[in-house]
Symmetry: C2
Subunit: 350 residues, 2 copies
């Protein structure tokens, strides 16, 4: 265990913790007393049919979903819906390598899969809230991976699905891309196979990881349009230090790696012996597939190929220069397209 | 100095070495007795107007240009043209960190700029061959950077220019992208600030550098189309080990870094106080700007923006799934488009 004030009520609160008990993992191993951190917005109606579930992305928590995606008058409106944002395992708020006591924590934390998260989340929403149907599951990036997993694993429970900037089965290219992020961290001698004394020991690795995210996450069009300057940074160095590293540098390396391992192996076709068509064919949710037009991690073409295999789905790419990290919400036009799509999706099957 | 059998006549021959004397560098410092390695194909005609110059790209030598781009019946036909392929400083064949005696070599090798290369190449072609006019300068990636530098620096000497998959002024995004490649190497403790005993000491860094090149150089469409399998590799691991690392792992880390430093700072607007329009406006060569359609390093949009500033230029993107590394010639359709364009360019201004 390592103290890390970033993962705290001060920074991310208010949120609740729910102990779902022991979680047997797909890869073997058990998380004992697995705790999910979550926050809710709005009120569950009497019919219990206005619940929306939001899983989180790599490095993200429920907080950015609250700040960027949820709001009165928005598609995800707490006046209308009961919104449950659940932090993934390894997020730093839910059970994670850094907050798990020895010997199970740090470099010994077991491998977790997207499916483990979704089973844990299912326990939370059914046991804690008695929710048996979700009006919508919506998430970006790894949140999209979890959204797909929800729609394939629990097809009768998910009425609508909105995977944003993510895929149902990760591609070879994206696996390798994530591997370069992983190795930016693990190559730091201070990482010490996951048994560092403090994240500060892995500062250089986290900095390299931040730079790679800047290259891959934003992309060429973002910088060519000087979007980093429009966001208030005077130079590339300023942007790297005071935005990218300010963001990633406070996080726990093992927590990031726990999420990255899951991300690399996201694959709903594990339910159907590797048959992606069969897996996506299970989906009963009305689905809007929403890649970011300039995304290098989950390019529109990859998302489009999956969209064709989903029974009741629409392909709704979001036009933006911000690449994958348009998810951060710095491009208002992208957020506006997204809200429009989500509003339409929520109005369908009324 | 380090012995490295990769940089040898056995692997890259035949080639010649030409000593251009001391080269005063733009950044300060001097390369004493700077040697350029070059190979020629075909015969200089009596009018001395059939010379074609080919500079090399990052990690590349004249050999790949010979094998992939030059040939009877091709656009770059040694039966018609006198083709001079010159290896850039830092290529490992020309003067480079690894083959420079102490104390000037290895981690002490001075910073070189694209402009230094082009001045050195100018000396070679004028003094050695008496060539005062070039029918064409053509190169890919850093070869394109040198092509632009030639056309801007010696506008009266370059009749035609074909920058392929490269820019005249490097973008912020590409600078940062190259920096992640640099740091993949320098972060290896075995790199030892450039004073390793053997490239083998930097094996892990070179492997990470190879993986990054696979992510950035080929791109998602390449892997989605299983191009790596079509090239004869059974899996991603097989491709990384036996293609990417087989290629980069034998190279000298300091040599790669010498080239990367130049690449990051390629900028013809240094001639005009930062005014790119003025710099490109100097070009008298008929120019074909040829980005690769899926290039993540030098995306078509970046090349197109520069094309608009060149007086007599055509924008001829090459359609391919192979990204930047379509330059390797593994996509015959891309090579065919390229040849067609080069043939047309060479036929212009007849």
């Amino acid at each position: 265990m390592i103290e890390n004030s970033y993962y705290s009520q001060d920074v991310h609160g208010p949120y609740e913790l729910h102990d779902i008990g022991n979680l047997e993992l797909e890869e073997g191993g058990t998380i004992r007393g697995c705790k999910l951190a979550y926050a809710t917005f709005g009120t569950l109606n009497a019919a219990r049919d206005n619940a929306i579930l939001i899983p989180t992305w790599y490095s993200g928590t429920h907080k950015i979903m609250e700040q960027v995606y949820i709001g009165q008058g928005r598609a995800l409106d707490p006046d209308k819906y009961f919104i449950i944002a659940i932090n993934q395992i390894g997020s730093g708020l839910s059970t994670s390598p850094h907050n798990t006591p020895a010997p199970a924590g740090m470099g010994n934390f077991p491998h977790v899969r997207i499916g483990d998260d979704v089973r844990a989340q299912h326990k939370l929403v059914t046991e804690k809230f008695g929710v048996e149907q979700l009006a919508l599951v919506v998430g970006g990036s790894m949140g999209a991976q979890q959204t797909y997993e929800w729609a394939v694993r629990y097809p009768d429970m998910v009425r609508r699905a909105a995977p944003i900037a993510g895929t149902a089965r990760n591609t070879i290219h994206d696996f390798l891309l994530a591997q370069t992020l992983v190795e930016a961290i693990t190559s730091d001698p201070g990482f010490n196979k996951g048994f560092y004394k403090s994240p500060e020991d892995v500062r250089e690795g986290l900095l390299r990881h931040s730079k790679l995210w800047a290259v891959l996450g934003w992309g060429s069009a973002f910088f060519q349009a000087n979007r980093h300057k429009l966001l208030g940074f005077s130079s590339l160095d300023d942007f790297i230090t005071n935005f990218m590293f300010a963001y990633f540098g406070v996080m726990d390396p093992n927590d990031l790696l726990c999420m990255a391992w899951k991300w690399q192996r996201g694959d709903v076709s594990r339910h159907t012996g590797g048959d992606l068509r069969a897996a996506l064919g299970r989906i009963k949710a009305k689905t809007f597939v929403m890649p970011m037009s300039t995304d290098q991690l989950f390019p529109p073409a990859d998302c489009q190929a999956e969209w064709r295999l989903i029974p009741d789905a629409e392909f709704r790419p979001i036009e933006t220069l911000d690449g994958h990290l348009a998810l951060f919400g710095a491009d208002p036009a992208a957020m506006s397209q997204l809200d429009k799509n989500l509003t339409e999706l929520l109005a369908s099957r009324a």
